[in-house]
Symmetry: C2
Subunit: 362 residues, 2 copies
């Protein structure tokens, strides 16, 4: 099958063989036997690590994403400290929006704020496709990282069209996404064009990362759990599918994750994910049933468990490993059901990595 | 069956016959044939109504809950305006906490703030059972309302033990409920005693409302959707069951609602609800499957739909009515999948009530 055909059909091409090809993480993504269950944590880079807080001091978030040496260091910090099975590239989902010219800033304690929200057909003109030249710092940072990481895989990522649309339409973080949904429900053609343009930007951003050397990509649809399945199928899935199709020919595993997506797991897999991320609300054996065969699962320890004593963390981690048996012989990547939160004890995370490794020896 | 036995077994006693007994709302709660699908809106009293904002001017939230004439007027406003099939008593879930002596205030733009959070065994002593004399203003307000409402049913309500515990342990609203879950996971005995005491307070608060004349009660577990099913079953369900059992002998319908509770619907019904509230993420026909036979369902239009044009609101409302056919001949109460939000157009809500009535004629 040619690369073009693979991309067109959404079928994944044969996996690319890099230094990390035989890592437990990538083997699990491909549902091949693994020596132990691989583990990494969403938002492992940043937030809870004192060395991160120190190195970021005085540097605004978006600026820090544009400094390759800094990105390299922040990305490596949790790999060194926790011995996780994969690194996740330090960046932010609004970086590609900024790169195509959207006036966006990440305000501490608030989140991304868009100076001029996107709400009309005219506004859409501001969303042009992303080219590699828009993000040279991304290519550079990934180059530095891949050289340093060796056989440890690096995961690239991007925000999915629905989540990006929510920020752009609301003008910032939102509890109920009311303006976003008003457009989705009330102006379906405008909405379709908006998420289609965002799919192009997102696909472009992922392609840059893959070309630069990441071993896998994760598409974060943080807010999509606020939709009913019919609305997801009608108004969001086509754009997410376009993103996954666009990178299918590279043969790197594609992970898809959202929070509160119990009702959407099957559809999110069908959109083109090789690995479906599951939050802690749905037990993995039930998630396996909803997603169906042929996909790996990632998750799903309740992050709040990390605030309990070690014995509790281990009991709950064991429950996750046990529930994952339903996925089959392999195909489970251990993770939290959502990102690391600021107050989390880094040592508890390190102990959890060791525990998962020890208790999943094959 | 004697009342005592009914309460002990959690079985509901024969329905009490008041002036509202044959209303569409109460008939639907009992899954009896109805002339049309009844409709009311969570948070219909307050927020989006200009007459509410006017009458509340300068009066702090908790104080307003303690003024019977004001409570009566605020509760009646949406009934007059929207012609909904039921009134929901204007109050707040922290009122019973305040009534037993907890130092709590509702801060505008924040929510309930607890001066001294509950985190130790010693702190538990501050949670004593609620007696009718603690809330004379509740009894008085309900008396005024029932006299005025005639055949329109009045719904009483309370916060469920998990949600109240979250406010008490965190000290206020919380995104991830980390301290709450840390106690639940790490100090299960302390936790069990905490929610057991809260069950007594909640049951006491509901009893006062029922004795004063409400026709149904809704137990709100706003935050419980942040739990996995096993944790709910182990750590929360016993306390919620205790609440429902305590009021079973009165024979008034018991509604149970939470947000993001797709995985918990069956268990929340089993806890003792006669009516299970469903948010918009789970289609009603699927909710009916999860809840099982013998219970009515309430919901579940996405509140954000109210920000779309009328034609869209009507299409989506029709989808809800259609999905509700799966529940059977009767047993559906139309509602939003979550509360009315401040920016919602009151006229859109009024039109929606008329639309549901017209399009569900039997």
């Amino acid at each position: 099958m040619s690369e073009t055909t693979a991309a067109q059909t959404g079928q994944q091409a044969p996996a690319r063989r890099g230094a990390a090809y035989d890592s437990a993480f990538l083997r699990a993504c491909r549902r091949e036997p693994v020596p132990h269950t691989p583990v990494w944590f969403m938002r492992q880079a940043g937030r809870s690590l004192p060395e991160y807080l120190k190195i970021r001091e005085g540097i605004p978030m978006l600026e820090s994403c544009m400094r390759p040496e800094l990105v390299k260091e922040i990305t490596l910090q949790p790999v060194r400290r926790h011995k996780v099975d994969a690194a996740i590239f330090f960046s932010d989902i609004v970086v590609p929006l900024k790169a195509v010219g959207i006036d966006v800033d990440i305000k501490p304690g608030i989140g991304p704020v868009i100076a001029d929200p996107i709400r009309t057909r005219e506004d859409l003109q501001r969303l042009r496709p992303l080219e590699p030249d828009d993000v040279p710092y991304i290519t550079e940072a990934i180059g530095l990282l891949v050289a340093e990481l060796g056989s440890t895989p690096l995961i690239g990522f991007a925000g999915a069209p629905y989540t990006l649309a929510s920020y752009l339409v609301e003008g910032g973080p939102s509890k109920n996404h009311e303006r976003t949904k008003a457009m989705m429900y009330g102006e379906p053609e405008l909405w379709a064009e908006l998420v289609d343009r965002l799919a192009d930007i997102t696909a472009g951003f992922l392609k840059v990362q893959i070309e630069a050397g990441v071993s896998a990509v994760q598409l974060f649809d943080s807010w999509v759990g606020s939709l009913a399945p019919d609305d997801y199928r009608r108004s969001v899935m086509p754009a997410s599918t376009k993103v996954f199709d666009a990178v299918a020919s590279y043969g790197v595993p594609r992970i898809h994750f959202g929070v509160g997506t119990g009702e959407l797991l099957g559809l999110m897999g069908q959109a083109g994910a090789d690995v479906v991320g599951v939050d802690w609300r749905v037990p993995l054996h039930e998630a396996a049933r909803r997603v169906g065969p042929g996909k790996a699962l990632q998750g799903n320890l309740d992050p709040a468990v990390l605030f309990a004593p070690t014995s509790v963390i281990e009991t709950k981690a064991r429950e996750v490993l046990h529930s994952a048996c339903a996925i089959g012989e392999s195909g489970h990547i251990f993770n939290l059901g959502h990102g690391v939160t600021p107050g989390m004890d880094p040592d508890a995370l390190s102990r959890l990595v060791a525990f998962v490794h020890e208790n999943s020896q094959r």
